[in-house]
């Protein structure tokens, strides 16, 4: 699927009346369109309208929200926002939104090719990409890419659009969210069904069960959310602790007094840790071997092999051998094959020939014999002994390092003292979190109660109460069907999600190897956030790179192309990171429409334009008032491509870069 954003126009809305054309007279849509809109030009209004054009959500906007789009100066009864898209490189799709401010509603009109009809009716080929879930992926704030790694704190967008997470991106793109919708639909339909199933005489029992179920579900939800949050917090704390420990060690390494002792202790700890690693690998490798677990197995096997029948051959395969031998002039021992010899062979062969199992038993005997000839291999006991000793050495080295730190602290080293205090506090918090995770994830056991935090216990209690409620309302049959459906859907979702996720990780990691050659970061897993190999986060630049690579990989996978509309892509970034992101975006995104303000240009726009081979459209959109009319616009130059009594759009690189500079020049002249 190829979808391109060709432009939009607005009239009678909070943003100035204007037309933005991204396509030129040769039907070319530039890879990058930079739209510079100073604060107060109606950027948020434009972005919200674009989003609503991409998902049809304005039909459901509350009246008060619709009124926020009204031009406060003119107070006209109607406003119009028209978005133009191109589908698969040929047909134009025009979404027209009319704001009826007298009623507080928005209506849609859709034009596709020669078809023109009321309502939000994108053609079937793009319909699945034009919903509220998907529009979140196409229009987003520049911080989204980084937050796919660092995670979303409790955020609430004023437009009511929830932030999306990495898992949801996969689900949305591949339509898995509809599987979840069907699950929800089945569950809520069953809940509705239960409400109609009031069986006389059991009202009190049903009410009691419903109450208990509500409480159990609420507790379960709290625990599941807590578990997720705790796992994220654990990763973060572990990394912080590691960084603090490393900072302490690096600090002491620079001190003449402690350096030698410390280096010895660190070297001894590292040696012990390597031994531990090797031993653990060895144990894991040998674990399936029963002899490794207990040497008595070797003796037992030998005894068993010795006690098996001797001189037996599998009958079906060996009988032919004897029959052919009887036809030979000489026996295998070189004696002549006389009649009496033939008789003896016939008689003995019947004793020797056994069933099929004898072939296996002979092979087994040979294997045991060969095994017993080998010298004794170290058993698990030996390995555990070595492991304990390595562990003791690592602990002793660590304790030496702790002593050095304590000594430095006693000597008044303020840096060490402050870090050690932080470490103690973080370690305490980590212990609490680990204890909670263990408790939440353990299997249920006798004596568990609703005061505890074992998630499995609460899940089984919820299931038990649901069943009791179904019994009490004579709804077991419907429950069985609903459970079967949700179980089928859960299983299909899990398998499809795992497969899409694996493909997304593989694709992104391949691309990251190309882009971050000198400072490689790889994705290890995708959950609510993207998890990186051996670290919880990268640098700001790495996080954004990984986020954009993942996002663009999913959106442009399988030959698809969608426009990405990014608000403030370089807003809060350092200069270096701006350069990195500016260079990166055109490599990943086939159509980027970025809304920027003047302060974002520096370090960002030039690398971006270079990387896009100058296939960039520069637009500056200004609100018209006395100040802009007299002080700003005359100094900008460029071509005015849209002009109304409330706004102007100027095309051109020089005008784009001149905005903000002319006021500085003006101030300079005045002084």
């Amino acid at each position: 699927m190829k979808l391109e954003l060709l432009g939009w126009s607005s009239k009678g809305l909070r943003c100035p009346d204007a037309e933005i054309k991204l396509i030129d007279e040769n039907d070319h849509v530039p890879q990058v369109a930079l739209i510079q809109m100073p604060n107060g030009t109606g950027k948020t209004t434009t972005l919200n309208c674009l989003r609503a054009a991409m998902d049809g959500s304005a039909e459901f906007w509350p009246q008060a929200y619709v009124m926020e789009f009204q031009d406060s100066t003119k107070k006209s009864d109607q406003g119009v926002f028209i978005t133009t898209l191109r589908v698969i490189g040929s047909k134009w799709l025009i979404i027209e939104m009319t704001f009826h401010f007298d009623e507080g509603v928005v209506t849609y009109r859709t034009t596709f090719g020669s078809r023109n009809e009321d309502g939000y009716k994108p053609p079937s080929e793009v319909r699945r990409y034009m919903d509220a879930q998907f529009s979140k992926l196409l229009l987003f704030n520049g911080e989204l890419a980084g937050k796919l790694i660092t995670g979303f704190k409790e955020e609430h967008s004023p437009s009511g659009i929830e932030p999306t997470d990495a898992n949801q991106i996969i689900d949305t793109f591949y339509g898995l969210h509809h599987v979840q919708e069907l699950q929800k639909c089945a569950k809520s339909s069953y809940e509705q069904y239960l409400l109609t199933r009031k069986v006389s005489g059991r009202a009190a029992q049903v009410a009691r069960l419903e109450n208990a179920l509500t409480k159990l579900r609420a507790r379960l939800r709290i625990l599941e959310t807590g578990l997720n949050d705790s796992k994220t917090a654990r990763l973060k704390l572990e990394e912080e602790i590691q960084n603090l420990q490393k900072a302490n060690e690096d600090h002491l390494r620079r001190s003449e007094v402690y350096r030698k002792k410390q280096e010895e202790a660190i070297s001894s700890r590292e040696k012990a840790q390597k031994e531990i690693e090797v031993l653990l690998q060895k144990i894991a490798h040998d674990f399936p071997n029963p002899v490794f677990l207990n040497d008595r197995v070797r003796g037992g096997l030998k005894l068993l092999a010795e006690n098996l029948d001797t001189l037996k051959l599998p009958e079906p395969t060996s009988r032919t051998f004897f029959e052919e031998l009887l036809q030979e002039p000489l026996c295998i021992c070189d004696r002549e094959m006389t009649e009496s010899a033939k008789l003896a062979i016939r008689r003995h062969s019947n004793k020797i020939l056994g069933g099929d199992i004898n072939g296996f038993l002979n092979a087994f005997k040979m294997a045991v014999r060969a095994h017993c000839q080998h010298p004794c291999v170290p058993s698990i006991g030996d390995h555990l002994g070595l492991l304990n000793s390595a562990h003791d050495r690592a602990a002793a080295a660590q304790s030496q390092l702790d002593d050095i730190l304590a000594q430095a602290e006693r000597q008044g080293d303020a840096e060490v003292k402050s870090r050690t205090e932080q470490l103690t506090a973080k370690q305490k918090r980590l212990n609490e979190i680990v204890a909670f995770i263990e408790e939440a994830e353990r299997p249920p056991r006798a004596g568990d109660s609703e005061d505890g935090s074992c998630i499995s216990y609460f899940r089984s209690k919820v299931a038990e109460h649901e069943r009791l409620l179904a019994q009490a309302t004579d709804s077991l049959d419907r429950k069985e069907r609903t459970d079967t459906l949700t179980s089928v859907l859960a299983s299909a979702y899990e398998s499809a999600h795992a497969s899409f996720k694996a493909a997304a990780i593989k694709q992104a990691n391949g691309q990251l190897r190309q882009i971050l050659k000198f400072n490689l970061v790889q994705i290890s897993d995708i959950d609510r956030v993207i998890k990186l190999h051996n670290r919880s986060q990268g640098s700001e630049g790495q996080n954004l790179t990984v986020g954009y690579v993942f996002l663009a990989g999913v959106l442009h996978g399988g030959g698809n192309q969608f426009p990405l509309v990014v608000d403030s892509p370089a807003g809060k970034l350092d200069d270096e990171v701006r350069k990195e992101v500016g260079t990166l975006l055109p490599k990943l995104i086939k159509q980027l429409v970025a809304f920027v303000i003047a302060s974002e240009r520096q370090w960002f726009v030039e690398p971006l334009a270079d990387s896009a081979n100058e296939d960039v459209l520069y637009l500056t959109h200004l609100r018209l008032n006395d100040y802009t009319r007299t002080m700003i616009i005359p100094g900008l130059g460029g071509d005015t491509v849209s002009n109304s009594d409330s706004g102007v759009v100027i095309k051109g690189r020089d005008a784009f870069f001149a905005l903000g500079e002319e006021s500085a020049k003006h101030k300079e002249l005045e002084s």
Binding site: K121, S124, G175, V488, A496
Partner: protein
């Protein structure tokens, strides 16, 4: 149309639960309509009932049902 990989996963889950193939067809039909948009709540419920009608109820659950 739901993604091929998703269709395969549904079909495999249906057969793992030892259910009739018609369950796959009806689930995919529901998803198709959801993707196409304009899937009114009443139609959703109607299509859902069509799926539920081909699933085993309380008395005739397949033996060794994997969900239990």
């Amino acid at each position: 149309m739901p993604h091929q990989e998703l269709k395969k996963a549904i079909s495999s889950a249906v057969s793992k639960h030892r259910l009739d193939d018609s369950a796959t067809t009806r689930i995919i039909a529901w998803l198709e309509q959801a993707e196409a948009g304009d899937f009114a709540a009443r139609d959703q419920e109607e299509q859902l009932q069509k799926i539920l009608s081909v699933l085993p109820g309380y008395q005739n659950a397949p033996e060794g049902d994997p969900k239990s």
